[in-house]
């Protein structure tokens, strides 16, 4: 176990190293930070002086060595745009993103398992077909569009006048399809509760939760269909396996077969995929946070890109790399718990 964790730690360091080299190598293509810091009429000589002060004129190796030396001491440079240490900036934006990812994960878990299992057990039921059809549509709609549609329906509100208002059923249908809006469409709201450090939470107040609803649904909208289909496919496969057939033949109640014997084995691959996907979800937050002006890491990263804020871009990429390594490690640990036949080190015992 200890050996495994140490090995993963080395992985994390290696990942951070490679990402930092890559990020530094492409920084010239990220744009000119000086251009973003000065007004249009600032003469070239002033720009050159600023470039010199920021050390942007030094050769690649010198710049990288300076960065690496500071980085091993925990200093990832100062963000140009936020005028603060990059790690500090990321730390301030991290809780918002983690809460968003947490809420989405909750939605995904709560919905994907029952729906996936149901449509595996009753593949021919109309509801199952509906879920499968809807999940195809869900996968194909980009998160950006989902977000805009959610805002239109639940924040701005839609008034449907498609049906004749004079008839009873028409006005009933118009009313049914119209919405009033009122859901917050942007930001985290002003009713946050401070937990500790940089962590202000949305989860403690009604207003905070309301702000969380639409962004987390939008973020969940990509992964939820994926998981429903994954769980369904795995479950159907498990249902065909010999031990399930045997259990059924023995006369064990179907409930027990489904939820104890089959589901447990279904979840093995789901955990693996799920862990990796949660890492990916951190990446998807860029889109969701942009649309909802959710002040998390995704929005911060986009701002950093727009301002060619190289220290922040490099730090963000490295941190995201670490998040991937950490989630993978947790997945492996959980996997070992669920399936005792798997050895953590991955070597034959």
């Amino acid at each position: 176990m200890i050996a495994f964790l140490i090995k993963r730690l080395m992985h994390a360091i290696l990942v951070m190293f490679i990402i930092s080299v890559l990020a530094f190598a492409i920084q010239d293509n990220l744009g000119d930070p000086v251009q973003q810091m000065v007004g249009q009429s600032v003469p070239e000589s002033e720009r050159e002086a600023l470039r010199e002060r920021l050390g942007l004129n030094d050769p690649f190796l010198v710049q990288y060595a300076r960065f690496a030396l500071n980085a091993v001491q925990g200093d990832f440079g100062t963000s140009y745009f936020y005028r603060e240490p990059a790690l500090e900036v990321i730390g301030r934006h991290l809780p918002a993103t983690l809460e968003l990812v947490f809420a989405s994960t909750l939605i995904i878990v709560l919905f994907s398992v029952p729906i996936g299992v149901y449509s595996a057990i009753k593949p021919r039921a109309i509801l199952s077909r509906f879920f499968m059809g809807a999940s195809i549509v869900g996968i194909s709609i980009p998160v950006f569009l989902t977000a805009i549609i959610l805002i239109q329906i639940f924040s701005i509100g839609v008034t449907v006048t498609l049906f004749p208002e004079s008839t009873g059923w028409g006005s009933w249908l118009n009313g049914f399809f119209s919405t009033e809006g009122n859901m917050p469409s942007f930001g985290r709201g002003y009713d946050l509760v401070h937990v500790f450090g940089h962590w202000d939470t949305n989860l403690a107040t009604w207003n905070g939760l309301q702000h969380l609803v639409l962004p987390s649904i939008a973020l969940a909208s990509i992964m939820l269909p994926l998981f429903i289909r994954l769980i369904r496919a795995e479950m159907m496969e498990v249902m065909q396996s010999d031990y399930v057939k045997y259990a059924r033949a023995k006369g064990i109640s179907m409930r027990r077969v489904y939820f104890v014997h089959a589901l447990k084995n279904t979840m093995l691959p789901v955990i693996t995929v799920g862990g990796v996907q949660i890492g990916t979800m951190v990446a998807y937050t860029i889109l969701t946070e942009t649309v909802f002006q959710w002040p998390g890491m995704g929005l911060m990263f986009l701002d950093a890109i727009n301002h060619a804020d190289i220290p922040l871009i490099v730090s963000y990429l490295m941190i995201v790399g670490v998040i991937f390594v950490v989630t993978n490690t947790i997945v492996d640990l959980v996997y070992g718990l669920v399936n005792p036949t798997v050895k953590l080190t991955g070597k034959p015992a």
Binding site: N29, L30, G31, D32, P33, Q35, M37, V38, G39, Q40, S41, V42, P43, E44, E46, L54, T78, Y80, F81, R83, R92, F111, I151, Q152, F154, S155, I156, S171, G175, F176, F177, S178, T179, E180, G181, N182, M183, P184, S185, F186, G187, G189, Y190, D191, N207, Q210, V213, I217, T290, V291, Q293, P295, L299, M300, L302, D303, I305, N306, H307, A308
Partner: protein, 528 residues
């Protein structure tokens, strides 16, 4: 009414399909009392140090927490603010009287020393230094009188005065606990002035999180008591166009800027929301690179390009009327605006000119344009490419995001480039000096002259105008310069991009927004 009750009951049913019963529940209007204004701007101020960066966001902020000596009215006239009177003492000296009884947020009174100190700080600022180059010195005559001296006769001193937002000298003097000078200007650094602010303006900054929100509260001792009624401002930057519009339509904010052309109709037709459109002053156009394409050195070819482009078509259809077609730099209201110059779209004439110049068969060029800087910039560039194809100029168009565009622009390695320009001085001469003056690395002239266009006659005329203090004469000279540039087609103008603001119906934004794009929110009135 029982009728309405049925409807809201059904609404809850739809909401529950999605799994959220929240939609029907009214959100508690967050501090939406009549005096709080929730603003959704595309960007927030980059810093609190008003001299650290010259940008639209910073100047808007300056008008909230500071006051200029004079400011622009909607019609490009000067309105006294902290300066109440001014007179030209001799050719190079202007004397200004300052308003009495003005205090800073810190409680210090405003005196002439503060203004002098501010002007000296402006001359230290990398962003303002070039603009304040003509100012030689400033001197306090008594507590409420200053004299500003220029090295040469300079007609635009009042234009510069719109940039002088007196800062609290006592507040910004001394050392911080870390031993840094409180007055120092550090770009993208953590200076005292970038974190602390004391101005004379209508609003005090109470809280600020970069990129997330800025909170303002009304300054109780503000000198101008006969003004707006906004007590608090919560400014949230919402960069995404669709989200900003949605935030207004859903009642999340009360006032937004930069309504995108595609949403104008929607906002105009929305209930309880007012849209205000203003003719802007930013010219959008193209520069042709004469260094790389020999043909562009021939005025006839440049004219052909100007004739081939349908400015009115672009403004009407692509911009949906959200632009004023242009045939010169200066928008209406500017000193050098020449009403005789109109767009000259005529494809046949363009083809003739190409033939006369010996390029009937045309040629191929590369063109670059940004894709997130100006309204519809990439689409405009695409439209222009198609128009040029009709005079046999084949365009390879590359568009890129802003952060990559300017470095690419600076290399001048393409044959044509798009640029938009807003004159920092709100004056016609500025366009020429930056965009079409013969390049001179020493003086910085022609810093954005992508095509290395050079017409010494025009340069001489504009330079002469810039030391002509008789404004009538000066305007005539600038109008003449516009006509010469039009004839020579040294810049291919397309249009002036409009500005659009929108606000909740009871927020009366029309009187406080202007073509310079700095809403004077101190004067904003929200009807009860």
């Amino acid at each position: 009414m029982p009728f309405r009750r049925t409807i809201s009951f059904k609404k809850t049913m739809l909401a529950s399909v999605i799994g959220a019963t929240l939609a029907g529940t009214a959100l508690l209007p967050m501090a939406a009392s009549a005096e709080t204004l929730r603003v959704g701007y595309a960007a927030d101020p980059e810093t609190l140090d008003i001299h650290e960066q010259l940008s639209g966001g910073m100047l808007r902020f300056s008008h909230l927490s500071f006051d200029p000596l004079v400011r622009w009215t909607k019609n490009f006239e000067f309105e006294p603010r902290l300066a109440t009177e001014w007179e030209q003492v001799d050719e190079t000296t202007m004397r200004m009287s300052l308003r009495e009884g003005v205090t800073f947020h810190s409680g210090n009174p405003l005196t002439a020393e503060d203004v002098v100190w501010t002007i000296e700080r402006l001359k230290e600022s990398p962003d303002y230094r070039a603009i304040f180059e003509p100012v030689e010195s400033a001197e306090a005559i008594d507590d409420h009188t200053i004299e500003i001296k220029t090295s040469e006769p300079y007609p635009l001193l009042l234009n510069l005065a719109t940039y002088i937002f007196p800062m609290d000298r006592a507040f910004y003097t001394g050392e911080t606990d870390d031993g840094d000078d409180k007055s120092e200007i550090v770009k993208a650094g953590n200076s005292y002035a970038s974190r602390h602010v004391s101005g004379t303006g209508p609003f005090i900054v109470t809280e600020r999180r970069q990129g997330v929100r800025v909170d303002f509260e009304r300054f109780d001792d503000y000198w101008d008591t006969d003004t707006g009624n906004v007590d608090r401002i919560v400014l949230t930057p919402i960069a995404e166009n669709a989200s900003r519009v949605a935030a207004l339509l859903s009642g999340g904010v009360d006032f937004i800027d930069a309504v995108p052309p595609n949403d104008l109709e929607r906002v105009r037709e929305a209930d309880d929301v007012n849209l205000v459109e203003i003719n802007g002053t930013r010219i959008i156009g193209f520069q042709l690179n004469e260094e790389r394409v020999e043909a562009f050195q021939d005025p006839r070819v440049r004219q052909a390009v100007a004739y081939a482009i349908n400015q009115e078509g672009i403004a009407d259809r692509l911009m949906r009327g959200f632009a004023t077609p242009a045939a010169q730099f200066s928008p209406e209201g500017y000193s050098g605006h020449n009403p005789d110059l109109t767009p000259r779209y005529d494809v046949e004439r363009a083809q003739e000119l190409m033939a006369e110049a010996g390029y009937a068969d045309g040629f191929t060029i590369d063109m670059i344009a940004p894709n997130n800087r100006y309204v519809n910039d990439a689409q405009i560039a695409q439209a222009v490419s198609n128009m040029l194809a009709r005079i046999n100029i084949d365009v390879n168009l590359r568009t890129m995001p802003l952060a990559q565009y300017w470095p690419e622009y600076d290399t001048r390695q393409s044959d044509a480039a798009m640029i938009g320009w807003h004159a920092d001085t709100e004056d016609s001469a500025n366009f020429f000096q930056y965009l079409t003056f013969c390049i001179d690395e020493q003086t910085g002239a022609g810093q954005y002259n992508y095509g290395s266009y050079c017409n010494e006659e025009i340069d001489a005329l504009v330079t002469a105008a810039d030391s002509e203090t008789d404004l009538e004469k000066r305007n005539a000279m600038l109008r003449e310069a516009e006509a010469m540039l039009y004839e020579d087609a040294g810049y291919i103008p397309l249009h002036w991009q409009n500005l659009a603001y929108a606000a909740r119906e009871d927020v009366d934004i029309e009187p406080v927004v202007n073509a310079i794009d700095f809403p004077y929110l101190g004067d904003l009135v929200i009807s009860e």
